[in-house]
């Protein structure tokens, strides 16, 4: 039984899913935040699952969705929550020119691979899996026959590998507490001794239209008190920028100077909004 071409429906599925998969891959390497990369990879995995199913591998397609998008990518997201939001890439190159050389090498590798595959596979007839799937009554049955027959030893070894990996992860993630937990008293004594922030940190700014935690408080001289915004937001760069003109206007109003001249923009009660930021 030979199957040289594929149906039009399959071609449509292929092109849609191929474009989605490549988009996800590009999103992985182009997005600056690791969380966005993880979501892009999830898109790639799902489109690959559809491609498996289109390739007469329904079992692998389901396993792909369950194992990759269900377990692996969610594990990545959990670890991203542990490792923190400030883990976006630094733009400093440790090795000079490494980025350019890396892209060039990878592009050359890709061209070589695609050309080699293109020339090696043209004219190879595709047999199709219909006969192999039908032999034992279906795709799952056929794979089970191979897994628990010919590949039984490999299957057992892989099971051992999985258990070892789980134990290894437990060992690596476990942290032994070497010193007793520090009490609140010790912590406060240490804070007073270090002398930099004895009291609580300043609260975020509260203004007429913004009192969200990303709005920094202003010091009496109009400068931003960065410390008033929670650390994770600061690390992510999610500080709401302060409109300098509005601050100056407020200052002028407070000192009574602007009351005489015509105001060319509305009275600023809101140092938290900058005109160029559409939120």
């Amino acid at each position: 039984m030979t199957e040289t071409g594929t149906s039009t429906a399959e071609a449509a599925v292929f092109w849609v899913c191929a474009i989605l998969a490549v988009t996800g891959g590009l999103g992985l390497i182009l997005s600056r935040r690791a969380v966005h990369s993880a979501l892009w990879v999830a898109l790639t995995m799902i489109s690959l699952a559809v491609l498996y199913i289109a390739n007469a591998a329904p079992f692998l397609g389901m396993v792909q969705i369950i194992v990759y998008t269900g377990a692996v990518m969610m594990l990545f997201l959990f670890v991203l929550m542990v490792v923190g939001v400030d883990s976006s890439d630094s733009l400093v190159e440790t090795l000079r020119g490494q980025r350019v050389v890396g892209i060039l090498l990878a592009a050359g590798f890709g061209i070589l691979l695609v050309l080699a595959i293109g020339s090696a596979l043209t004219g190879v007839p595709a047999v199709g899996l219909d006969a192999a799937n039908a032999e034992y009554g279906g795709n799952v049955e056929g794979i089970a026959r191979l897994l628990f027959g010919e590949y039984l030893l490999a299957f057992e070894i892989v099971a051992g590998l999985l258990i070892t990996a789980a134990l290894g992860a437990l060992v690596l993630a476990h942290r032994e507490r070497w010193q007793p937990r520090r009490t609140q008293r010790e912590l406060s004594e240490e804070r007073v001794r270090s002398g930099d922030h004895v009291g609580p940190l300043p609260a975020p700014g509260v203004y007429a239209r913004h009192n969200a935690v990303d709005t920094p408080a202003l010091l009496p001289d109009g400068s931003v008190a960065e410390i008033s915004v929670p650390g994770p937001l600061r690390a992510r760069g999610d500080l709401r920028p302060v409109d300098a003109a509005a601050v100056a206007e407020t200052e002028a109003l407070a000192s009574g100077r602007a009351a005489l001249g015509p105001a060319d923009h509305p009275v600023a009660d809101d140092p938290g909004t900058s005109p160029d930021e559409p939120r």
Binding site: L28, L51, Q64, S87, G102, L129, Y151, L162
Partner: protein, 99 residues
């Protein structure tokens, strides 16, 4: 459309994963790029299985998935352990073995 298009797509995805490994500095992103490369290899296996009319390719792809899952578990645990001691997930940081 020929079934070999699947293999070409796998090559493209593998290349994208290579770029990610070579260019990105965040250990987790590098790890996800490796996952992408493994998936590209899986797609090639599945396509070859179909072209050869033989289910062995699908069984190998299944094994690759299992090994990839084990690798993810251990690798992420290592990344978390390094993050705890170094407070960083950059692959430029851990250079203790260098000297």
């Amino acid at each position: 459309m020929n079934p070999e298009n699947y293999v070409v797509l796998a090559a493209v995805l593998f290349t994208i994963g290579t770029v990610g490994v070579l260019v990105r500095r965040n250990a987790i992103v590098v790890f996800m790029s490796i996952e992408l490369m493994l998936n590209a290899a899986n797609l090639a296996f599945v396509a070859f299985a179909r072209m050869q009319g033989n289910l062995d390719g699908q069984v190998i792809a299944f094994f690759v998935m299992v090994v990839a899952a084990a690798e993810v578990v251990v690798g992420l645990a290592i990344i978390v352990a390094i993050y705890r001691s170094r407070r960083s997930a950059s692959i430029d940081e851990p250079n203790l073995l260098k000297y």
